[in-house]
Symmetry: D2
Subunit: 360 residues, 4 copies
């Protein structure tokens, strides 16, 4: 197990889907940062099941309690411990899954690794684990507001299966994204995406897609070569999320179709600042931010839980079939948006604090 | 700076392209592993400039010297320090670049971060830095041979710009790949790719592409949830390489076009073992290896150094032009292959040792 | 802040004395280790206030709740989160201390470092923080019982001020130590020590002393040169405890009075095993255990809180006096014994798991 | 192996006494710090064998070469690699020691841990390993001079066996200490100590003693509770040095003989600053510096190598005798002084940089 992330602004998460609760300790948060439970709760509510008609109807209030590190609404510089109790537990729903491995879930691999697993609700591999990340990122956001208030971190649904939104990373707003339950920035695609999710769900099937994220007004100079390059830490952050299969920054995989003459970003003096006139680098060069928008994309596979019968084996290795049931997202993308933002916020906050350590 | 990678099998690299040398310390290598400088040299030679007619003609012997950690050809369990002296230095070639920022290089961002940079040859951001990684991975390979001798780690050129090789990850051999200077596993694409690189080079331009990699015979159970998932550490490893813009595992970005019913990998008992009958997961589920082939792809952008004139600015922010010169790869892909293998080897070795720590 | 300890068996603590609670996350605990809350509670009860007539009468039930990482009494390999709620809070008792710095406490330095502090009960600097360590060590003890069941870790009160107990580290038993409320291993010193503590307390004064600790049946080979030598990690562990001022192992400071000829431990073959005939090394040579008893001592200063008037300053820097009050230990030594054992257990468990990682 | 030390200003050492060389990589050094090899060499010369008539006459030039991280005498912010070649190797002198375990050396424990060891000169356990630490600390000193130029770090020989120097930590100067080859700050004890070392050496015997160290003008607020308290990191640093058996800070073990009323350090406003009128805390309270002098002591055992015959065993477990020979220090204290200063400098520099990371 390795449930820690970050070097200076460092978080430690814990919890299974159906145990006493899930939570996080944040170590390395600066002192004297204003913080309320409401700021944490607002982000947890964006991640929460049951928030709209296109996500899982499970009822999880996900109420955050701050156990430590805060005094009269101000951080103490000591570890901030945040606990979210588990409530809507139905262990009974999972009896069959204790025996049969759900295809493309982590049941088999947890057994292979640990020789034991929490059989209900996915245990530690449940997406419920991301609550701690989102809560920690809400704290990180308050830190950013203290030391670099202008930084904006926005994610949105770029594609759902074959449906692609047209979104300009340099101008899209939080209001644009939050104005619709699918959390895409393209008004034209809201209805098609919602309808597609509903159709897929009615078939007991599922879909995935791509979340795109931009970090705007990021100062130049963040990222720690060689191994902790900014894009390397972002890639790790995103691939540590459940259901992710890919990460690309700037031109990404499509950039391999260009020649160097087409791909390079020319530098120009614009209004007295050194800028690039294109941004195929995606805001990072040599692992360090260059002051342009940081733009990256994350691929989420279709939800592994589907409502049809699938071939699988038991934990004794016998061939069998599994009929999916329960209350699951047919498409995780709308709820993945705040989680992608959360991980980007954690990476950026950590790198901002790291940069301060060694600046003369 | 953060020039360390790995948790148990942990490496620390150092060195600029035109200083005293580049190298690596490996800390956490088990004792009593047979090791020779020849094994390290063989891998360095695969990475080396001047090895074929399609790579940079720079003459860098890249001779490895083991300074510590070895006694009579056996590792001591103490840090292994490997030094490669710099030899073919032509600081004069870089005078102009001390003043003008090369587009899509790290010149500007290093200045933005550190307020200083080694002006010649890219300094720390030079691909020469990867020598330490390749040398360390050659040691890691010896460790694997002691504790899991069957593990195979092979990479190859999957695409160069629009040219795509057909390679079966489950059967391709090292001999297939090493049989041609472009290091692709598809005999049909060898000549087209070589010709394309030569044509592009003759135009003073450059191209990128995709390297694909497979890890075969990996035991199930490797990878440390939550944050050190196997794919997360692989993604970080790959995005820490110069010129990389994307990473995907298994079905990757294309997997987002499938439904869950199409994407899930059914489990079956095959010859008494639990296997999946498809491998869209790419050998990893829930961050843990499932015993199937681990398959991933890495996007490399076209080389930033091109031989034509480009718009840029000076380090004083004045608009100017830069005429490329020097001896550079028009396509880094053939030399990237051993580097991708090296990073995969480092990740896997580290996770194998981590898994031993907590297994009862 | 840095509230993490250990490399493989790694703990993260949190909590102030008068907030929502204190607790710990254990990351890196092997899976399939039997564990109950009762095993944790037993150690917390040894540490607890109010357990005897010579410790603080504060009523803190210190009831442990395991929030995660456990299923049906067996560890899952996932993070184990343990929470102890705060109950007996009397913030009113501390009003004066919010303004006046208690001499030789951490009030002033926390303000100097963080610009803020939890004013009541010592906040994060309270000895209440050690609850998380003791709970984590109770888990570590179960791990030891699985992989090296014979290892014994025992501490006792060696001195209280000028009173010194005669204890043979190679034969003293847990029963000897627990048979008396002062937790010394010398029956002759029980009454004198108890009487001395009572006398000092009646004077509103306090005393310190030395805790001695032995690790018996430790396998040879533990400890990681160069910086993570076993004695280095033990020293750090002990000096991280509140009120500690010194650490020595084996011959310690007194060993500096001997010559090399007197101090060296001769090796002999005893019953077919390589042993030393004396143990001035204290069971560690070159940072690595040699299989002999590991013996060390820790100095605890007299409790800083006393019931008489002392000169001090306000947080505005004005000279003033502070009259001590509240319910405090006149001597922390009896309650320090289980905490010293806890830290030794954590160090040893971590090093045992580290050693497994790189053993072929 | 764990050859890394520090969190932000982080060093990695390597090398055996009789291999290709010993050295260090410093990662996390700020950019734009002036640095020359001469500054490193000056400290290495203080540590070097053969520097006076009372230390080992071995001839080791210990010439430092900076391989990376420096450009025109200014640090680049990239890893600084420093190499010191081994020269005066006499493997022949050590043939017997390849078979017979030297008492109170690390020969046996390295074999127990690794199953192999470098047989000549102590290998990795040789005090020669401290070269990397001293070189790194010379770099750290330049960093301190940039960000806190007034900090003074001075160590001296406090005792040699029963001979004790009278030194006032608040006033002793570097010139006082360097004025005599024994490196004590008490002029009265120079001759007695030198004579005692010579006498002991003439007997083929050895002695140890205590090094005392002061850090003056340290700002308040350094040290990271809970586990990385300043005294905890100092204790670890010192106990990681060869031949150390104890560490105490401020009142130390003697402080346990005082009552709380005697031991507490009263706060007073002195010249507008919050100060303590005594310093039994040793400059650290609650793990954080309080702005007073940080004073600590380190116990060094008598040198294990003596020139008389000792009982021991072979690596096959047979009883035998070993006749010491070679060129060794009869007393390491004079050469330990710069090494203690080096470790204190590394701890302080790291904590200064850590504090900057999270200060708003």
């Amino acid at each position: 197990m390795s449930s820690s992330f970050g070097q200076v602004f460092r978080i430690h998460t814990y919890g299974e889907s159906h145990g006493g609760g899930v939570g996080v300790i944040i170590d390395g948060c600066p002192a004297r940062v204003p913080l309320t439970e409401a700021e944490i709760q607002r982000e947890l509510d964006r991640r929460r099941p049951g928030q709209s008609e296109i996500v899982t109807p499970r009822k999880e209030a996900d109420t955050a309690e701050i156990l430590s590190g805060l005094h009269d609404g101000i951080t103490l510089g000591t570890p901030i411990s945040i606990l979210v109790r588990n409530t809507d537990q139905r262990p009974g729903s999972y009896d069959e899954m204790a025996v049969k491995y759900r295809p493309s879930h982590a049941d088999y691999t947890y057994d292979a690794k640990y020789g034991i697993r929490a059989p209900s609700g996915g245990g530690r591999a449940s997406a419920r684990e991301t609550i701690g990340r989102v809560a920690a990122a809400a704290v990180a956001r308050q830190v950013l507001d203290q030391i670099h208030p202008g930084i904006e971190i926005l994610a949105w649904v770029k594609t759902i299966q074959h449906l692609e939104a047209k979104v300009d990373p340099s101008t899209v707003t939080a209001a644009d994204i939050e104005s619709n339950i699918v959390r895409t920035g393209d008004p034209e695609m809201v209805e098609p995406m919602i309808e597609h999710i509903k159709t897929i769900r009615s078939q007991g099937n599922s879909v995935g897609g791509v979340v795109e994220c931009v970090i705007r007004n990021c100062p130049a100079g963040l990222g720690e070569p060689i191994f902790d390059k900014l894009e390397a830490d972002l890639a790790k952050a995103m691939l540590s999320l459940p259901a992710t299969k890919g990460f690309e920054i700037g031109s990404g995989f499509a950039g391999t179709l260009l020649t160097g003459a087409e791909h390079n970003d020319p530098f120009r003096n614009i209004d007295g600042k050194i800028r690039t006139t294109s941004n195929r680098s995606g805001g990072v060069q040599g692992g360090i931010s260059n002051g342009e928008d940081i733009v990256f994309r994350v691929a989420f596979k279709p939800t592994a839980t589907i409502m049809t019968s699938q071939e699988t084996v038991t934990n004794q290795g016998e061939n069998t079939e599994l009929q999916g049931k329960g209350r699951h997202d047919a498409c995780v993308l709308p709820r993945a948006v705040p989680i992608v933002e959360a991980m980007a916020t954690l990476v950026l906050t950590d790198h901002l604090l790291r940069q301060r350590a060694t600046s003369l």
